[in-house]
């Protein structure tokens, strides 16, 4: 007998296929059962004995329905006859949910694939039977795990929402009453009282921006940022950023200019773009003691597509080459001794880079220590 021959080539008798004479079948990992047109078992392999707990002598010549629970038997006879009328290959996992019945009366879920087999004695149906207990258990565990993860995600969202609410409530009183005092509504202040209250106010605002940054970050990291891509004018965004920071530049007596040389619109999320530019420009003004800060917007290309480069350059303290990548990590302010002088959350650049990526662009830095830095955000014109 030549084992390279396939079962379909009408070469074998049942006797050729039985037992160790046909190892491919005998040692197949699935229980394999050949059934004739009357539904009688004509041949089984070793795995069938193991799976159902019968010796093969107890199975041969008996109806196949002995291997399924009584409640399925009536329906099974009908299905079996139907299949014989139109025999075709039916792979695993298709068809009805069925249980197998062991000799000891216990049941287990099975997957069955069917195929017609031609032998010298005629056509039989070969059923390969696999115990799907493990797969079913895995599926159930997977479903439970998914449900638990969804629950955890919901819990995280609602935790973020309560955090935001609970932290803002006391800040409302702090910022509010500091404001009423500074507005001198209850009465006049001495210069020193005013100076101290301004410290309270800026610290409270700092705390608020820290809370906002942390929540933004949590939203970005859980994929919850809602972006609205729409055509916007780069100049409008730069003008808005410029006017909201002009006072800070004037206060530090820095030259602050904008140069927009692109026309037309960019399709992006206005809020995220504004947030990135505000952050970069605010940093530039913060870390520059004298000289200038300028925003340049020019046409460029990114991944061979039309893009716009927003650059924020300063004549500030600059960043050493080794520090330039560290800059974009969360809570890294390069010189810890600087944190009191330059107030910031340490999250700004990390957030900016994350937002830049969400917009499909990229944020880079070039800098010379002691001379200044340029942060460039390259943004594709279309989404």
């Amino acid at each position: 007998m030549d084992p390279s021959q396939t079962l379909g080539e009408v070469a074998f008798s049942l006797a050729d296929l039985a037992g160790t004479r046909f190892p491919l079948l005998e040692y197949a990992p699935d229980a394999t059962i050949l059934v004739d047109a009357e539904g009688k078992i004509r041949l089984v392999n070793a795995q069938t004995e193991r799976l159902f707990g019968y010796y093969r002598e107890e199975l041969i010549g008996r109806p196949i329905e002995m291997l399924i629970p009584a409640r399925y038997r009536g329906r099974h006879v009908g299905e079996r006859k139907g299949y014989y009328g139109d025999p075709h290959v039916r792979p695993m996992g298709i068809g009805m949910e069925l249980n197998g019945l062991r000799k000891n009366g216990s049941e287990f879920p099975v997957e069955i694939s069917l195929s017609p087999v031609s032998t010298r004695e005629g056509t039989f149906v070969s059923a390969s039977v696999r115990d799907s207990t493990e797969r079913k258990t895995l599926e159930r565990q997977l479903r439970e795990l998914n449900a638990a993860l969804e629950g955890a995600n919901r819990a995280k969202d609602s935790f973020l929402a309560s955090m935001s609410h609970e932290l803002r409530t006391p800040l409302n009183a702090i910022i509010g009453f500091t404001g009423t005092l500074l507005m001198q509504l209850p009465g006049p202040l001495t210069a020193e009282q005013e100076r101290q209250l301004e410290i309270v106010q800026s610290s409270a605002r700092h705390l608020l921006s820290l809370i906002n940054d942390i929540l933004d970050l949590a939203k970005i990291e859980s994929g919850k940022v809602e972006l609205t891509f729409e055509p916007i004018s780069a100049k409008d965004v730069v003008d808005a950023v410029s006017s909201s920071l002009a006072a800070l530049a004037a206060e530090k007596q820095l030259e602050f200019t904008t140069h927009v040389t692109v026309d037309g619109e960019i399709t992006t999320d206005r809020r995220a773009l504004t947030q990135i530019l505000l952050n970069l420009t605010n940093n530039a003004l913060k870390y520059t003691e004298c000289g200038s800060v300028r925003i340049d917007v020019r046409a460029t290309s990114y991944n061979e597509k039309p893009a716009v480069a927003f650059s924020v350059s300063d004549t500030g303290i600059g960043i050493k080459p080794d520090d330039q990548e560290r800059l974009f990590k969360a809570f890294e302010q390069l010189d810890r001794s600087n944190t009191r002088r330059y107030e910031g959350t340490g999250l700004g650049l990390y957030l900016c880079r994350n937002l830049a990526q969400l917009l499909g662009g990229e944020l880079m830095v070039t800098s010379e220590f002691g001379k200044g830095s340029t942060f460039t955000f390259t943004l594709p014109r279309a989404r």
Binding site: L160, A161, S164, H165, E166, R168, T169, L171, N172, A173, I174, I175, G176, F177, G179, T180, M183, L185, A204, L208, L215, K219, K224, E226
Partner: protein, 124 residues
């Protein structure tokens, strides 16, 4: 000046808003209890109602539902002043029937102007 009703279960925040509004010459009443606030609002002698959203008992959403079904109050703007400031909150609050939405922490310098804008738009 106009009578303004402020409802907030947080006594300190209620105090802040009443203080600010009165400092700018408005007549303002406050309630720290949602239900008492609603009853006061339903009596109808206010030109503007400001309410917190998350309150025990009657929250801002329920407040809006019961306030907005009173036809005699249809000309009175209802504004939420709330620390619910995450994305989606504005939409939820607007859908609940509020005419305006101010987030906490309030900026004292702009709060009064924001409130006065509501009075100017819809009130006397």
């Amino acid at each position: 000046m106009s009578r303004i009703l402020v409802v907030d279960d947080n006594a300190v925040n209620l105090d802040l808003m009443l203080y600010l509004l009165r400092a700018f010459g408005h007549e303002a009443d406050g309630h720290a209890d949602g239900l008492a606030g609603l009853h006061a609002a339903l009596r109808g002698d206010f030109a503007l109602v400001l309410t917190d959203i998350l309150m025990p008992g009657i929250d801002g959403y329920e407040f809006a539902r019961r306030f907005k079904r009173e036809s005699h109050l249809s000309a009175v703007p209802l504004v939420a002043v709330t620390a619910l400031a995450m994305s989606g909150d504005r939409e939820r609050i607007t859908e609940a029937g509020f005419d305006g939405y101010i987030t906490k922490p309030i900026e004292p310098r702009t709060f009064v102007a924001q409130v006065e804008a509501f009075l100017g738009r819809d009130g006397p």
